[in-house]
């Protein structure tokens, strides 16, 4: 039954955003700052994981396709399609749940236990709207960009790895990528990016905003934010695949 209690509180928190929003100029600055923290701050980790995932996928796919009847172009097809459909949005989001989710939860949790959120409330500021909405908005803006970057780098990493190791030539790889490309794959990837961005930022914000206690509870809240975000991402991933494909 406790899960319904938390779902109810989570939805109430989201509904509170619209209760008494502050001036747009206040949000605008905050959203830009959050875009910098969430988006720009995550570029390096996204670049690293994407390039290596793409490279590993190429090597492992080439190892699987031993039959001479199967053309080498299939490696490019497999890497590009699985990057767009699954690996870029899901794996990147799982990694970002750890980085971005824990940062959001610990920031809000610390503000809660040091009475900074109370200070906002006493000033008459809608603290949930002021603190959480910019983070969610920034996630909705930056996650799709990060995931597009991730997909591009996975394919680039795969292409380079194939060419360097001699498993598949760059020409074959690109031919394979283009052969079975569908615009729907990009749309599907972007839908996932929006959904996962919202899940990570809102769940982490809920966990951080509702921390009670001290430093220990902030850490626990941060851990819960990452774990719950990952679980919900996987459930949403399956649901979207079932609904849209």
């Amino acid at each position: 039954m406790k899960i319904f209690y938390h779902i109810g509180r989570y939805l109430t928190l989201l509904a509170n955003f619209f209760k008494s929003p502050e001036k747009f100029s206040v949000y605008w600055n905050l959203i830009l700052m959050e875009c910098n923290a969430i988006g720009v701050g995550s570029v390096l980790i996204v670049v690293l994981i994407s390039v290596f995932i793409g490279a590993v996928m190429t090597v492992q796919t080439a190892y699987q396709l031993e039959s001479p009847l199967l053309p080498n172009t299939l490696i490019g097809t497999t890497v590009s399609n699985s990057s767009m459909l699954e690996l870029a949005p899901t794996v990147t989001s799982l990694v970002l749940a750890g980085k971005v989710g824990s940062a959001i939860a610990s920031q809000l949790g610390t503000m809660r236990v040091t009475e900074q959120i109370d200070a906002l409330e006493v000033m008459g500021i809608n603290s949930s709207s002021y603190l959480i909405m910019p983070k969610i908005a920034a996630s909705l803006i930056t996650f799709p960009l990060l995931i597009i970057l991730s997909a591009f780098l996975m394919m680039t990493g795969g292409l380079l790895a194939g060419d360097i190791t001699g498993e598949v030539s760059a020409v074959d790889f690109i031919t394979g990528m283009r052969e079975y490309f569908q615009v729907f794959y990009v749309n599907f990837m972007l839908i996932k990016a929006f959904v996962f961005g919202f899940i990570i930022s809102s769940i982490a914000a809920y966990q951080g905003y509702n921390v009670r206690g001290g430093a220990l509870e902030v850490g626990q809240g941060s851990t819960r934010a990452v774990v719950y975000s990952c679980i919900v991402i996987l459930i949403a991933d399956f649901t979207l695949a079932k609904l849209l494909i």
Binding site: K19, E22, T114, D118, V122, M123
Partner: protein
């Protein structure tokens, strides 16, 4: 009368923390809530400022019931509240200047230059001039409290709340903070509510005192009446230390009288800003008791202007 609480009841599970408390907090005076740890002081303060919802009773701000008031009324009321938290609660990612200017940025449409002037006035008032660019982590406990007070008075509040203002401070710094609270109460004619268990503060600054014991109001009066209270719990609380003797209460300064010295607050810097006269000229002429001295406080009027615009938006010009 500024704030009145009527039959405030608050419990956590089966434990009743506040058991039907009544009290009147007066304007222009330092109203102290004293009591031992766990007596319900902080919970009561949180119920008064709305950080906790009381289970029953009324919190009346100049007659307006805070617990049943509409969203807009509460928001307007909160613009008139300033609070100093036990641990200052400064925004640690902002500088001192940004902390103090924060309420102005949210509630007024002052320019950056005007906000800076007002911030400097507030910081100067709490003897924290030239600390604008420091972060809270770079300040001592006493300095953080003073910046907290500067932030609390930035919008010229009508009600000032202080939760354990002296906790964690040495006696000398405590005295500085106490004096600051007393001066601001007098200058700005605020209704100041201080939660404390520091008897030195009680001697130095209190005008009205409420003593809480196990969630009940056991006694109320002023500091000169404490020694004649005849309440064993209060006597035990007040005179537990040999350092606090009855003579000290006799030697304590007279209770503060409102608006004794308005010279320091008579010309807030914002009013001196070249852009300010335009704001003042457009402001609705509503006499405001919280305005210190000569009546026109652009900060408060600016906030009122913004509100009126929100409530009565002008029809679009065709």
């Amino acid at each position: 009368m500024a704030i009145e609480i009527v039959d405030i009841v608050k419990g956590f599970g089966e434990k009743q923390v506040l058991k039907g408390i009544n009290f009147k907090f007066e304007q222009g005076k330092v109203n102290m809530i004293i009591g031992a740890s766990g007596s319900g002081k902080s919970v009561m303060l949180k119920c008064i400022v709305g950080l906790m919802k009381a289970d029953g009773g009324k919190v009346l701000y100049d007659g307006l019931d805070f617990m049943t008031a509409g969203f807009k009324d509460i928001r307007n009321l909160r613009k008139n509240m300033g609070m100093l938290f036990q641990y200052s609660a400064l925004f640690d990612s902002m500088t001192v200047e940004e902390n103090v200017g924060f309420p102005l940025k949210i509630y007024t449409q002052l320019t950056a230059k005007e906000i800076k002037k007002r911030v400097e006035f507030c910081l100067d008032r709490v003897n924290m001039a030239n600390t604008n660019h420091l972060f809270p982590a770079e300040l001592s406990g006493g300095m953080m409290k003073r910046v907290g007070i500067a932030r609390a008075i930035a919008l010229n509040p009508k009600y000032l709340f202080c939760d354990e203002p002296n906790s964690g401070l040495d006696p000398l710094t405590s005295k500085v903070i106490d004096e600051l609270i007393m001066e601001i109460t007098t200058e700005f004619n605020t209704c100041t509510v201080v939660v404390s268990h520091d008897m030195n503060s009680v001697i130095n600054i209190s005008d009205n005192i409420m003593f809480l014991h196990k969630g009940q109001k056991e006694w109320e009066g002023d500091k000169r009446q404490i020694m004649r209270s005849g309440n064993p719990s209060l006597d035990k609380f007040v005179f537990v230390s040999d350092l606090i003797n009855r003579d000290l209460f006799n030697q304590a300064p007279e209770p503060a009288k409102p608006a004794l010295d308005l010279s320091k607050a008579s010309t807030p810097p914002v009013a001196e800003a070249p852009e300010a006269p335009a704001i003042v000229a457009e402001a609705p002429v509503a006499p405001d008791p919280i305005v210190p001295a000569d009546g026109a406080d652009p900060i408060v009027e600016e906030a009122a202007n913004v509100d009126e615009e929100e409530q009565n938006p002008e029809p679009p010009m065709v």
